[in-house]
């Protein structure tokens, strides 16, 4: 048996305090646990249920827990308001300092942004897109509320150490082609369950050349091919990002997959000639070149979400739109992923530009991406979104149609009123 390990096996070996390999079941120590206003209330109920016979009902480590409100902010119903009250009370009772109320932004943006995620950590979040933090070299995965209740109580959780699929992505992206197009291509190719139970490891020079914002997009969507994580070996780009948030941070250079580590599959891509990609309704793996759906009339454009709501994404869209207005009859919703990203957009003049173009610029939140709040689609309506899911009924009516794309394709479509190749405008 080879002692060569994937980065995933290295992280689990540390977290389980023994050498492990793919397939092993472990009870692992959690470095950071994140929950939000949708899945948090059930986790809190579960925690008190576990602790019901204990005199001291305290979480294992309040400094390792992060709680954020992002899905229904500000509260859009009485129930949502009650859920918020319950979580605020829990935060106070448990002395949880890393609490971000309705104004801070989307969990998957705020977690890395505030320095809560470090390379090599085992991070869990009760949200499926927690895999986004793999962009910083953490093993980060989505769990349920009962899982989170157990983490709150003991700081440990059961896992099966996953096998790894290595995606080696090489080549140079063409003009107006981005990491969103890469990940859509990969998902379309392997299918919605192609990486089920596995860790996805993204490597190759095309991935190495991406900034952290672009890396977050491809890690975020590992779950859309069934993946448990979407991890990228941390490098100097990662180190720079972390150092700005955690002064003095120094990268452990051993934090990478060993040469000769065991992969369940290695898939190679050259993205040099790849056109922009679009996922068509109603599955994320229903992916085509943008040229195949060009001209499809749209009613709404969503520019935002934890996948593509950062300043860099808004800038790409703004540059493509220039001084052109949103097409007549089309609604453009712009939702920056966090307050920090919003402020950057504000200072750069993007908010003014979007509003002059006829867009609606919302405060940072998940928005219509999970379909619980405003901006929902009615029967028969068509939306192109920079978010991560186009499931039937996700953004409102089960008779609506959601296409997924990069911010560039979404912006080009917004000014034309129909799905448009961003290279053509």
């Amino acid at each position: 048996m080879s002692d060569k390990q994937t980065i995933t096996e290295k992280i689990f070996s540390r977290a389980a305090e023994r050498p492990v390999k793919a397939g092993d079941f472990v009870l692992a120590n959690i470095d950071r646990a994140m929950t939000h206003d949708i899945t948090g209330p059930l986790a809190v109920e579960g925690f008190y249920e576990i602790m019901r016979n204990e005199k001291e009902k305290k979480v294992w480590d309040p400094d390792k827990i992060v709680i954020l409100f992002d899905h229904q902010v500000p509260a859009d119903s009485l129930n949502a308001a009650q859920n918020h009250i319950m979580l605020r009370k829990f935060v106070a009772e448990q002395d949880i300092k890393n609490f971000y109320d309705i104004f801070e932004g989307v969990c998957h943006q705020v977690m890395p942004e505030k320095g809560h995620v470090l390379p090599g950590q085992l991070v869990v979040g009760s949200d499926s897109h927690t895999c986004a933090y793999g962009s910083l070299g953490a093993f980060a995965t989505g769990i349920g509320s009962t899982d989170m209740a157990a983490v709150f109580a003991i700081g440990k959780l059961w896992f099966r150490v996953p096998e790894t699929i290595r995606f080696e992505v090489n080549g140079r992206l063409g003009e107006r082609v981005y990491s969103k197009d890469i990940i859509l291509k990969l998902i379309g190719d392997i299918g919605a369950d192609g990486a089920r139970y596995k860790a996805c490891e993204y490597a190759g020079d095309a991935v190495k050349s991406l900034d952290v914002s672009q890396r977050m997009t491809i890690s975020n969507m590992a779950i859309e091919m069934g993946g448990k994580a979407g991890i990228i070996e941390p490098d100097s780009i990662t180190e720079e990002y972390i150092k700005e948030r955690v002064p003095g941070y120094k990268l452990d250079t051993d934090l990478k997959s060993d040469d000769g580590a065991n992969y369940s599959d290695i898939r190679k891509y050259d993205v040099s000639d790849m056109p922009p990609q679009v996922a068509c309704p109603h599955n994320v793996d229903n992916v085509v070149d943008v040229t195949e759906v060009e001209g499809k009339k749209i009613d709404q454009v969503l520019l935002g979400s934890c996948t593509n709501g950062r300043f860099e994404d808004l800038k790409i869209a703004a540059d493509i739109m220039g001084d052109r207005p949103v097409a007549k009859g089309v609604r453009l919703l712009v939702i920056p992923a966090s307050r920090t990203e919003y402020m950057k957009a504000l200072k750069a003049g993007l908010v003014e530009q979007f509003m002059n173009a006829g867009a609606l610029v919302e405060s940072p939140c998940c928005g219509p991406c999970m379909g619980g709040s405003f901006g929902l689609l009615g029967p028969g309506e068509v939306c192109i979104a920079t978010s991560n899911r186009n499931f039937k009924g996700r953004q409102g009516s089960a008779d609506a149609f959601v296409y997924l794309s990069s911010p560039a394709t979404a912006a080009a479509s917004a000014i034309k009123g129909k799905i448009t190749d961003p290279r053509s405008v």
């Binding site: 249920e49 016979n53 979040g125």
Partner: protein, 165 residues
């Protein structure tokens, strides 16, 4: 006692099980009133205690929302039988005690077939077609959690062991 099979296809996602606008509800019975509302509105009104959900590959893909298996539990579904399950859905179901069986022969079961299931042995009997299928048993490690009555009970034991020596 046999229950009726409700047949679904591949990649049934958690938004299909329980649409996002109902995630403000935390109670299994309340959630069950909206189960599959967008994609199969007749389910919530006609599902009976002891019925089965039968599906193809990757059942439960998508969100980590535990509201999805909770809605299924609230509807009184006895067991979900699928060719395969999405990872987080599988975890959540084990953790809250919704029985799952991974069965490669799930395609042989049709809508409305009457089924009897022996959970311990993982044997599925199709009463309508007079056929028997086997399924992949849950690994021992997870059976410990199931035998404890779910992850809440399992974790409570760990807490009590720690605090009482």
């Amino acid at each position: 006692m046999a229950g009726k099979a409700w047949k679904f296809g591949d990649d049934v996602d958690t938004d299909a099980v329980i649409p996002g606008r109902f995630l403000i509800l935390n109670d299994a019975k309340d959630l069950a009133k909206h189960a599959f509302e967008g994609v199969r509105p007749e389910f919530k009104d006609n599902v009976k205690e002891g019925d089965f959900i039968v599906a193809g590959e990757n059942f439960g893909c998508g969100s980590s929302r535990e509201h999805a298996p909770l809605a299924i539990k609230g509807a009184g579904v006895k067991c979900v039988i699928a060719k395969s399950f999405a990872r987080i859905f599988f975890r959540n179901s084990v953790n809250i005690g919704v029985p799952l069986l991974e069965c490669k022969d799930a395609d042989r079961i049709a809508e409305g077939d009457m089924l009897e299931v022996d959970m311990e042995k993982g044997i599925i009997k199709n009463v309508t077609k007079n056929e028997i299928y086997s399924s992949t048993p849950i690994p021992d490690f997870l059976m410990d959690i199931v035998r404890s009555g779910g992850l809440i009970e399992f974790t409570r034991k760990i807490v009590e062991r720690k605090n009482r020596g």
